[in-house]
C-alpha cells in the first residue's frame, strides 16, 4: 500500500500568488476513495483521540472508500457542524493525523482532506440535510459571538431542541473564519453555506448586535428570558509592540489588514467601498498563521517584496507547516532571528522602513523555547512602505467589563472550567476568549462541551422549579 498521502491538487505557486482563488483544489472522487482505502479501520481508532469534536473517523472514511459520500458527510455532521471549514484549516498534523497508525511507518491517512472532500461533495450536490429536530422546545439560550465556538454551541443546542439566538457584533457571522482567514485558504461562500445549514436547524443569528452595548448579559438573562448564555467572543484585541513609529500611516494590525481584505473585500476596491493600502515592500512582524496569511495576502495585493520578520528561528515558528511551505513557494522572504526596534517615517507621516536588530538564541525561557537575545550593534534598516503587526491578539473586554460577577484572569480571559462553566450562574464560555488565541477545532470542542453542560444546567434548573 502507498506509504504517502495522495497529493493534494493545488494551483501553481506562480499563478496563485497573484489571485485570491483557493490554493488547494481538493481531491477528485477517485483520489478520495484511494486515500480512504489507506485507512486500516483500526478497532482502537487512535486517530479519534486527536479529534476534539469526536468525529468517528474510521466510520466516515469507510463510507468514502465505499463511495457512499452522503453517508460519510451525515456521519461527520452528527459531530461537526463545520466540516468544510475544518477540512481546510484544522491543523490535522497536530490533531487526528498525529495519532494515525499509518503515520508510524509513512504518512498518516489524509483525514482532513477526506473530511473536506465529503463536505464539498455534499455542498456541490446542494444536498438538503434531513435533521429531524425535536418537537418540544427545551429552553432558550443566547450565544454571544458567531465564531467557531459560538456556532458549534448553537448547532448542538438546536439539535437538542433549544431555541438559540446568536448575537454577533459584525455584519456577518463566522468570526475569524470571515474576517481573518483569507479567501484563498477558506472561501467565504463556504463559510456562509455552513452557517446557512445551521440556520436550517432553527438557529437565529442576529448580526450588528454588540453584547455589552446592545444588551448586557444580565439583561439577556433577567429581561430577555434566556435560560443560559454562552460567551464565545474570541481573541480579537490586536497587540502592538510599543515601539516608536507604530502609529505611522502604513502600519496595520493584522486584524485591520485582514478585515479590510476579507470581510470588506478590499481586494475588489474600487468596486467595493473599502480601500486598503499596500506598498511595494511589506514587512509582516510575527510567524504564526496570522502572519503567513497577512504576508500571502500582501503578495496577492501586488506587493513586490514581502518579508516575514521573526525574532526566533524556523524551528520555533508557530504557523502550520503547510502554510509556511505555501508562503515560501509563493516567494515570501524570511528574515529570521530579527526583531524590529523602530518604524521609520517620512515627513508626511508615512512608513518608509523599519529598523531591525539581529537576534541569537540563548537559554530556554518560561515557554521552554530558547530565548532570543539581541546582537549588539547589528541594527540595519529594511526599506518597506507597509508594516503588518501579527504578534498576537488578546481578549476583547466589552463583555467582561459589563458583566458583574464574571471572573477573568490577569490577561483578561474569562475563567471557565473544562465544561465551560464560568463563575456566574447560567453563564458559560469557550474558545479563544477562555484559552487565548488557539485553533478552530479547539474552539469547536469547547463549544460542544459547553452545549452539553448548558443542556444539563437548564434541565436541572427546570426540574428544581
Amino acid at each position: 500500500m502507498q506509504q504517502v498521502k495522495h497529493k493534494m491538487p493545488e494551483q501553481a505557486a506562480e499563478e496563485r500568488r497573484r489571485n485570491f482563488n483557493e490554493v488547494a483544489l481538493g481531491y477528485e472522487a477517485e483520489t478520495a476513495r484511494a486515500e480512504a482505502a489507506r485507512c486500516l479501520q483500526c478497532k482502537t481508532a487512535p486517530c479519534r483521540q486527536g479529534c476534539p469534536v469526536e468525529v468517528d473517523i474510521p466510520k466516515f472514511i469507510k463510507h468514502v472508500k465505499d463511495g457512499d459520500f452522503d453517508a460519510a458527510i451525515d456521519e461527520i455532521k452528527t459531530k461537526n457542524n463545520l466540516p468544510a471549514v475544518c477540512g481546510r484549516v484544522c491543523p490535522q498534523e497536530d490533531q487526528c493525523e498525529k495519532f494515525c497508525i499509518m503515520g508510524k511507518k509513512g504518512e498518516p491517512v489524509g483525514i482532513g482532506r477526506l473530511e473536506r472532500f465529503a463536505a464539498d461533495c455534499a455542498m456541490a450536490k446542494e444536498r438538503e440535510e434531513s435533521a429531524a429536530l425535536p418537537a418540544e422546545v427545551l429552553g432558550k439560550v443566547a450565544v454571544i459571538g458567531a465564531g467557531p465556538a459560538g456556532l458549534t454551541t448553537a448547532g448542538d443546542l438546536a439539535r437538542l431542541g433549544y431555541k438559540v439566538t446568536v448575537f454577533e457584533a459584525l455584519h456577518a457571522p463566522g468570526g475569524v473564519l470571515m474576517y481573518g482567514i483569507p479567501e484563498f485558504r477558506l472561501p467565504k461562500a463556504i463559510v456562509q453555506r455552513e452557517i446557512a445549514a445551521l440556520r436550517k436547524l432553527g438557529v437565529d443569528i442576529q448580526v450588528n448586535a454588540v453584547i455589552g452595548k446592545s444588551y448586557t448579559i444580565d439583561e439577556l438573562l433577567n429581561e430577555e428570558g434566556f435560560d443560559a448564555v454562552f460567551i464565545g467572543t474570541g481573541a480579537g484585541l490586536p497587540h502592538f509592540m510599543d515601539i516608536p513609529g507604530e502609529n505611522l500611516n502604513g502600519v496595520y494590525s493584522a486584524n485591520e489588514f485582514l478585515t479590510r481584505v476579507n470581510l470588506m473585500k478590499a481586494y475588489k476596491f474600487p468596486q467595493t467601498g473599502t480601500p486598503v493600502r499596500v506598498g511595494n515592500r511589506v514587512a509582516v512582524i510575527g510567524a504564526g498563521n496570522v502572519a503567513m496569511d497577512s504576508a500571502r495576502t500582501a503578495l496577492r495585493l501586488g506587493a513586490e517584496k514581502v518579508y516575514i520578520v521573526y525574532r526566533r528561528s524556523e524551528d520555533e515558528m508557530p504557523a502550520r507547516h503547510e502554510e509556511l511551505e505555501h508562503a515560501k513557494e509563493e516567494g515570501v522572504e524570511f528574515r529570521l532571528l530579527t526583531a524590529p526596534v523602530r518604524v521609520l517615517g517620512d515627513d508626511k507621516g508615512w512608513v518608509k522602513g523599519i529598523e531591525c536588530i539581529k537576534m541569537e538564541l540563548g537559554e530556554p525561557d518560561e515557554s521552554g523555547r530558547r530565548k532570543p537575545v539581541p546582537v549588539e550593534g547589528s541594527n540595519y534598516v529594511l526599506e518597506v512602505e507597509t508594516v503588518v503587526m501579527a504578534i498576537g491578539q488578546g481578549p476583547n473586554p466589552l463583555v467582561q467589563d459589563t458583566t458583574p460577577g464574571l471572573a477573568v484572569n490577569k490577561r483578561g480571559n474569562i475563567v471557565a472550567d473544562e465544561a465551560g462553566a464560568t463563575s456566574k450562574a447560567g453563564v458559560f464560555a469557550g474558545g479563544d476568549i477562555v484559552t487565548g488565541a488557539a485553533t478552530v477545532i479547539l474552539a469547536m470542542g469547547a463549544g460542544k462541551k459547553a452545549a452539553a453542560k448548558i443542556h444539563e444546567y437548564v434541565q436541572n434548573k427546570k426540574a428544581a422549579r
Binding site: A209, V210, P238, N247, Y252, E256, P270, R277, G349
Partner: protein, 278 residues
C-alpha cells in the same frame, strides 16, 4: 434593513436622517456613535448619534458629504433603507453637575455636541455654547442649540453671521473676563479641537474632545482607530471616542486621518485622469 424615516438638508452638503432603529434608540446615550453600511459592497463608516427619540424608536444622524460613502448616503431618500446599523458604540459622555460647562462645536461638530449640551443642561449645569462655521450657510442646529444653552455665541470665519472669527476667540474672552469654567466640551475639525486644547491648557480647565479616527469594526478588534493619549495607545471606538484634550496627540491623529485620502481620490476617479478634483 433600517428605514430612513426623515431626510432634511441642513446646509449645503450637510444632511440629516432619522433612521428607524428601536433597539439603538432605546439604549443610546449622548456621546455614542453607530457604524453603518449602505449595501453589500459598502464600507463601514461611523457617525455620531446626534439625537434620538426613544418612543418613536428612531435615531438622528447628521453627516457631511465628504467622500464616497457619505456622498452615496446623501443620495438615499425617505423610505430607503440602510443594510447594517450597529450601535450604540463607544463610551457615553460623563454627564454630571459640574457648574459651568462650555460646549464648543465647529462645522458638522455641532451635531454631536447638541445631545451632550442638552444632557449637561438637564443635569443642572450652566451651559454656554459657542458654535462656528466658515459662513452663515454652513451653520447648523442654531435653534436647537439655543434651546438647550443658557447662552449661545455664534462665530463665522467671514462674519456673515454672529461674530467674525474662530470659536476659540469668545472662549479666550470668557477666560480673560475671569468667568469660572468647569468643563469645556469641544467637537469639530481636529485643528479646531487642538486649538481649544491650547487655549484651555494654561488654565488647567478640564477639556474633553470627541475624536474621529478611521474605524473599521468599532468594537476594539482592528486597532485602526488607535490614538496616542497621554503617550499610551488608546482605541477610540471602545476607550473613547471622548478623551482628555490636554493628553491627545492631535498631530498624530491628523496624519492618520489622511491615510486614505489620496488613494481614494485616485482610484475612484480613474487614476486621477478625470481631473474632477474631488
Amino acid at each position: 434593513m433600517y428605514e430612513i424615516v426623515k431626510k432634511e438638508v441642513l446646509s449645503p452638503g450637510v444632511l440629516l436622517f432619522d433612521v428607524a432603529a428601536p433597539l439603538i434608540a432605546k439604549k443610546c446615550q449622548p456621546g455614542q456613535f453607530v457604524i453603518l453600511r449602505i449595501d453589500e459592497d459598502g464600507e463601514r463608516i461611523p457617525l455620531t448619534i446626534a439625537d434620538f427619540d426613544r418612543e418613536a424608536g428612531t435615531i438622528t444622524l447628521i453627516f457631511q458629504e465628504v467622500g464616497h460613502t457619505t456622498r452615496q448616503l446623501g443620495t438615499l431618500n425617505k423610505g430607503d433603507g440602510l443594510l447594517d446599523l450597529v450601535g450604540p458604540l463607544g463610551k457615553a459622555t460623563h454627564i454630571d453637575k459640574f457648574g459651568t460647562v462650555v460646549c464648543v462645536g465647529g462645522g458638522i461638530g455641532v451635531a454631536p455636541v447638541y445631545p451632550i449640551a442638552r444632557a449637561y443642561k438637564q443635569a443642572g449645569n450652566k451651559v454656554v455654547s459657542i458654535i462656528g462655521a466658515r459662513n452663515a450657510d454652513l451653520l447648523i442646529l442654531e435653534k436647537e442649540m439655543a434651546a438647550v444653552s443658557d447662552e449661545l455665541i455664534i462665530t463665522t470665519d467671514d462674519g456673515s453671521k454672529g461674530r467674525k472669527g474662530l470659536v476659540i476667540h469668545p472662549l479666550q474672552e470668557m477666560i480673560d473676563a475671569g468667568e469660572k469654567i468647569d468643563v469645556v466640551m469641544a467637537i469639530g475639525p481636529v485643528i479646531m479641537m487642538r486649538s481649544v486644547a491650547d487655549v484651555t491648557r494654561p488654565y488647567n480647565i478640564h477639556t474633553v474632545v470627541s475624536l474621529n479616527p478611521i474605524m473599521v469594526d468599532g468594537t476594539g478588534m482592528c486597532g485602526g482607530c488607535r490614538v496616542s493619549v497621554g503617550e499610551k495607545n488608546k482605541f477610540a471606538c471602545v476607550d473613547g471616542p471622548e478623551f482628555d484634550a490636554h493628553q491627545v496627540d492631535f498631530n498624530g491623529l491628523m496624519a492618520r486621518q489622511r491615510m486614505y485620502h489620496d488613494h481614494e481620490k485616485m482610484e475612484r476617479c480613474g487614476g486621477g485622469s478625470c481631473k474632477c478634483n474631488k
